[in-house]
């Protein structure tokens, strides 16, 4: 079971690297914000599975819940700011 979790983790890290392409080369600003949110969601899944690998599940669950909250607030704040200001 643990080697299966490790394989899923490596696969998800590969997905994060593919999302980085859209963060760096995205033609518009909205692409970058969307890709950052996607990286955040994949990161919190990786964190929970690492918790299962190391045996301390509850510690990594607390960390991932805090990270989900900050991801959400960051996206809300960025979109409200760019709706108000017309320039970067």
């Amino acid at each position: 079971m643990k080697s299966f979790f490790l394989a899923v983790d490596i696969f998800l890290c590969l997905m994060v690297f593919l999302c980085l392409y859209r963060v760096v080369f995205g033609p518009t600003l909205g692409d970058r914000i969307v890709a950052t949110g996607a990286i955040g969601t994949k990161t919190l899944t990786i964190l929970v599975i690492i918790g299962f690998l190391y045996g301390r599940v509850e510690m990594f669950l607390d960390i991932s819940l805090s990270y989900a909250l900050l991801n959400f607030i960051g996206t809300l704040a960025a979109s409200k700011y760019f709706e108000a200001k017309r320039e970067i």
Partner: protein, 102 residues
């Protein structure tokens, strides 16, 4: 025990498939609105599937209840963030991609 592990492995593999679909959509779609469509829906469903698989693997426990809490939070927050972002882009006047525009 073995039945529970098999169900957990199947659900985690379905979740990984949806993550792969979301990343392919993010890279290949032509416009910002369509990319938001792919990310907002497929990412949320993938996290739901993986968390449900881990809950089945771990059993009825306090940690499973916390994973249920993460699941409910992602279920509410991720689509709301996508909606707010696309509303901001629409109010700024971004034109969606149409087929004859190329």
């Amino acid at each position: 025990m073995l039945m529970r592990d098999i169900i957990a492995i199947i659900m985690i593999l379905i979740g990984c498939f949806f993550f792969l679909t979301s990343v392919i959509g993010l890279l290949r779609f032509p416009d910002m609105f369509t990319r938001m469509h792919a990310t907002g829906k497929c990412d949320t469903l993938a996290v739901l599937m993986i968390m449900a698989g881990l809950i089945v693997h771990h059993g009825i426990n306090l940690d499973s209840f916390k994973m249920l809490l993460i699941l409910v939070f992602i279920y509410i927050a991720n689509p709301t963030a996508t909606h707010v972002l696309s509303r901001a882009a629409f109010r700024l006047g971004v034109q969606p991609w149409t087929k004859d525009k190329k």
